[in-house]
Protein backbone atom coordinates (compact mmCIF):
# COMPACT_ATOMS: atom_id res chain seq x y z
CA UNK A 1 0.00 0.00 0.00
CA UNK A 2 1.45 3.43 -0.94
CA UNK A 3 2.61 5.53 1.97
CA UNK A 4 4.17 8.89 2.75
CA UNK A 5 7.80 8.66 3.80
CA UNK A 6 9.89 11.21 5.66
CA UNK A 7 13.60 11.65 6.32
CA UNK A 8 15.36 11.97 8.62
CA UNK A 9 13.39 10.37 11.44
CA UNK A 10 15.31 12.45 13.98
CA UNK A 11 17.30 15.68 13.61
CA UNK A 12 19.28 17.47 16.29
CA UNK A 13 20.57 20.94 15.43
CA UNK A 14 22.01 24.02 17.04
CA UNK A 15 19.93 27.17 17.33
CA UNK A 16 20.43 29.36 14.27
CA UNK A 17 21.28 26.50 11.94
CA UNK A 18 19.31 25.64 8.82
CA UNK A 19 17.49 22.34 8.56
CA UNK A 20 15.78 20.66 5.63
CA UNK A 21 13.11 18.08 6.28
CA UNK A 22 12.29 15.77 3.41
CA UNK A 23 9.11 14.02 2.38
CA UNK A 24 8.08 11.73 -0.43
CA UNK A 25 4.29 12.02 -0.84
CA UNK A 26 2.10 9.30 -2.31
CA UNK A 27 2.84 9.32 -6.02
CA UNK A 28 -0.56 10.21 -7.53
CA UNK A 29 -1.47 12.81 -4.92
CA UNK A 30 -1.73 16.47 -5.87
CA UNK A 31 -1.96 18.23 -2.51
CA UNK A 32 0.89 18.33 -0.02
CA UNK A 33 1.02 19.60 3.53
CA UNK A 34 3.31 20.18 6.47
CA UNK A 35 2.08 20.07 10.05
CA UNK A 36 3.91 20.18 13.35
CA UNK A 37 3.15 18.87 16.80
CA UNK A 38 4.88 20.26 19.85
CA UNK A 39 5.03 17.69 22.64
CA UNK A 40 1.70 17.49 24.45
CA UNK A 41 -0.03 19.95 22.14
CA UNK A 42 -2.39 19.77 19.17
CA UNK A 43 -1.24 19.07 15.67
CA UNK A 44 -0.87 22.46 13.94
CA UNK A 45 -1.16 23.26 10.25
CA UNK A 46 1.86 24.95 8.71
CA UNK A 47 1.39 25.06 4.94
CA UNK A 48 -0.39 23.45 2.02
CA UNK A 49 0.99 23.18 -1.50
CA UNK A 50 -0.81 22.58 -4.78
CA UNK A 51 0.17 22.97 -8.40
CA UNK A 52 3.72 23.96 -7.47
CA UNK A 53 2.75 26.81 -5.21
CA UNK A 54 1.66 27.49 -1.65
CA UNK A 55 -2.13 27.45 -1.44
CA UNK A 56 -2.40 28.36 2.25
CA UNK A 57 -0.08 29.00 5.16
CA UNK A 58 -0.56 29.59 8.85
CA UNK A 59 0.79 32.37 11.05
CA UNK A 60 3.49 29.97 12.20
CA UNK A 61 4.85 29.73 8.66
CA UNK A 62 6.85 32.96 8.66
CA UNK A 63 9.83 34.04 6.54
CA UNK A 64 12.04 31.48 8.27
CA UNK A 65 10.10 28.67 6.62
CA UNK A 66 9.97 27.67 2.98
CA UNK A 67 8.73 24.68 1.01
CA UNK A 68 9.86 23.30 -2.27
CA UNK A 69 9.08 20.48 -4.64
CA UNK A 70 12.51 20.15 -6.23
CA UNK A 71 11.58 17.20 -8.46
CA UNK A 72 8.60 14.98 -9.21
CA UNK A 73 8.75 13.04 -6.00
CA UNK A 74 10.21 15.07 -3.11
CA UNK A 75 8.60 17.79 -1.01
CA UNK A 76 10.83 19.66 1.42
CA UNK A 77 10.41 21.99 4.38
CA UNK A 78 13.32 24.30 5.12
CA UNK A 79 13.78 26.23 8.34
CA UNK A 80 16.48 28.85 7.69
CA UNK A 81 17.51 29.80 11.21
CA UNK A 82 16.12 27.43 13.79
CA UNK A 83 14.87 28.60 17.18
CA UNK A 84 14.43 26.62 20.37
CA UNK A 85 10.66 26.78 19.93
CA UNK A 86 10.90 25.03 16.56
CA UNK A 87 11.53 21.77 18.44
CA UNK A 88 8.61 19.53 17.52
CA UNK A 89 7.50 16.58 15.44
CA UNK A 90 7.03 17.65 11.83
CA UNK A 91 4.57 15.68 9.74
CA UNK A 92 4.22 15.69 5.99
CA UNK A 93 0.90 14.68 4.47
CA UNK A 94 -0.53 14.29 1.00
CA UNK A 95 -3.99 13.89 -0.47
CA UNK A 96 -5.70 13.21 -3.76
CA UNK A 97 -8.91 14.92 -2.66
CA UNK A 98 -10.09 15.30 0.93
CA UNK A 99 -8.39 12.52 2.86
CA UNK A 100 -4.87 13.30 4.05
CA UNK A 101 -2.32 10.56 4.64
CA UNK A 102 0.52 11.25 7.00
CA UNK A 103 4.15 10.28 7.12
CA UNK A 104 5.84 8.95 10.26
CA UNK A 105 7.27 12.36 11.12
CA UNK A 106 10.65 13.94 11.77
CA UNK A 107 11.46 14.71 15.38
CA UNK A 108 13.40 18.00 15.38
CA UNK A 109 15.32 19.04 18.47
CA UNK A 110 16.89 22.49 18.53
CA UNK A 111 19.55 23.01 21.20
Amino acid sequence: EPEVTQTPSHQVTQMGQEVILRCVPISNHLYFYWYRQILGQKVEFLVSFYNNEISEKSEIFDDQFSVERPDGSNFTLKIRSTKLEDSAMYFCASSALWTQYFGPGTRLLVL
Binding site: Q6, Y33, N51, F91, W98, G105
Partner: protein, 113 residues
Protein backbone atom coordinates in the same frame (compact mmCIF):
# COMPACT_ATOMS: atom_id res chain seq x y z
CA UNK B 1 -10.97 30.82 14.41
CA UNK B 2 -12.13 27.27 13.92
CA UNK B 3 -11.78 24.96 16.91
CA UNK B 4 -12.45 21.29 17.47
CA UNK B 5 -13.09 20.14 21.02
CA UNK B 6 -12.65 16.49 21.83
CA UNK B 7 -14.00 14.77 24.90
CA UNK B 8 -13.13 13.08 27.05
CA UNK B 9 -9.43 13.91 27.00
CA UNK B 10 -8.55 10.73 28.90
CA UNK B 11 -10.48 7.47 29.21
CA UNK B 12 -9.54 4.31 31.07
CA UNK B 13 -11.89 1.35 30.77
CA UNK B 14 -11.95 -2.42 31.21
CA UNK B 15 -11.77 -4.84 28.32
CA UNK B 16 -15.22 -5.57 26.93
CA UNK B 17 -16.74 -2.19 27.78
CA UNK B 18 -18.20 0.20 25.22
CA UNK B 19 -17.13 3.82 24.85
CA UNK B 20 -17.88 6.94 22.85
CA UNK B 21 -15.53 9.79 22.00
CA UNK B 22 -16.95 13.15 20.91
CA UNK B 23 -15.64 15.82 18.61
CA UNK B 24 -17.52 19.13 18.61
CA UNK B 25 -17.23 22.48 16.92
CA UNK B 26 -19.26 25.62 16.29
CA UNK B 27 -17.96 25.56 12.71
CA UNK B 28 -19.18 23.56 9.73
CA UNK B 29 -16.67 21.20 8.14
CA UNK B 30 -16.74 19.83 4.62
CA UNK B 31 -15.19 16.60 5.86
CA UNK B 32 -13.96 15.16 9.10
CA UNK B 33 -11.27 12.59 9.55
CA UNK B 34 -10.48 10.32 12.49
CA UNK B 35 -6.93 9.21 13.11
CA UNK B 36 -5.15 7.06 15.62
CA UNK B 37 -1.67 8.06 16.73
CA UNK B 38 0.90 6.00 18.60
CA UNK B 39 3.64 7.78 20.61
CA UNK B 40 6.38 9.13 18.36
CA UNK B 41 4.56 8.20 15.16
CA UNK B 42 2.41 9.91 12.58
CA UNK B 43 -1.41 9.89 12.65
CA UNK B 44 -2.87 6.84 10.90
CA UNK B 45 -6.17 7.38 9.13
CA UNK B 46 -9.18 5.45 10.40
CA UNK B 47 -12.02 7.00 8.42
CA UNK B 48 -13.21 10.08 6.53
CA UNK B 49 -16.82 11.26 6.78
CA UNK B 50 -18.15 13.85 4.36
CA UNK B 51 -21.97 13.74 4.39
CA UNK B 52 -24.10 15.11 7.23
CA UNK B 53 -25.63 12.21 9.15
CA UNK B 54 -23.21 9.71 7.64
CA UNK B 55 -22.39 6.59 9.65
CA UNK B 56 -19.38 4.43 8.86
CA UNK B 57 -18.37 1.19 10.52
CA UNK B 58 -14.90 -0.25 10.77
CA UNK B 59 -15.19 -3.60 12.58
CA UNK B 60 -16.00 -2.63 16.21
CA UNK B 61 -15.62 1.12 15.51
CA UNK B 62 -18.62 3.20 14.46
CA UNK B 63 -18.14 6.77 13.25
CA UNK B 64 -20.93 9.30 12.86
CA UNK B 65 -20.94 12.77 11.31
CA UNK B 66 -23.55 15.14 12.67
CA UNK B 67 -26.40 16.29 10.46
CA UNK B 68 -25.07 19.86 10.52
CA UNK B 69 -21.49 18.68 9.92
CA UNK B 70 -20.30 20.40 13.10
CA UNK B 71 -19.72 17.35 15.24
CA UNK B 72 -18.73 13.71 15.09
CA UNK B 73 -18.49 10.71 17.35
CA UNK B 74 -16.49 7.52 17.53
CA UNK B 75 -18.07 4.56 19.30
CA UNK B 76 -16.06 1.45 20.14
CA UNK B 77 -17.95 -1.72 21.03
CA UNK B 78 -16.38 -4.34 23.31
CA UNK B 79 -13.07 -2.54 23.62
CA UNK B 80 -9.89 -4.61 23.58
CA UNK B 81 -6.40 -3.81 24.92
CA UNK B 82 -5.26 -3.40 21.31
CA UNK B 83 -7.56 -0.39 21.03
CA UNK B 84 -5.34 1.51 23.47
CA UNK B 85 -3.99 4.67 21.88
CA UNK B 86 -4.61 8.33 21.05
CA UNK B 87 -7.65 9.04 18.88
CA UNK B 88 -7.70 12.34 17.00
CA UNK B 89 -10.40 14.06 15.00
CA UNK B 90 -9.53 16.60 12.34
CA UNK B 91 -11.87 18.74 10.28
CA UNK B 92 -11.37 20.33 6.89
CA UNK B 93 -13.18 23.28 5.37
CA UNK B 94 -12.00 22.56 1.85
CA UNK B 95 -12.46 26.02 0.43
CA UNK B 96 -11.00 25.88 -3.06
CA UNK B 97 -7.51 24.47 -2.83
CA UNK B 98 -7.23 25.27 0.87
CA UNK B 99 -7.61 21.98 2.69
CA UNK B 100 -5.86 22.45 5.99
CA UNK B 101 -6.99 20.23 8.82
CA UNK B 102 -8.08 21.68 12.15
CA UNK B 103 -7.26 19.22 14.92
CA UNK B 104 -8.72 18.24 18.24
CA UNK B 105 -6.39 17.62 21.18
CA UNK B 106 -7.18 13.92 21.13
CA UNK B 107 -8.63 11.30 23.43
CA UNK B 108 -6.11 9.07 25.13
CA UNK B 109 -7.74 5.67 25.57
CA UNK B 110 -6.45 2.93 27.85
CA UNK B 111 -8.17 -0.45 27.74
CA UNK B 112 -7.19 -2.62 30.68
CA UNK B 113 -7.22 -6.43 30.40
Amino acid sequence: TQLLEQSPQFLSIQEGENLTVYCNSSSVFSSLQWYRQEPGEGPVLLVTVVTGGEVKKLKRLTFQFGDARKDSSLHITAAQPGDTGLYLCAGASNAGNNRKLIWGLGTSLAVNP
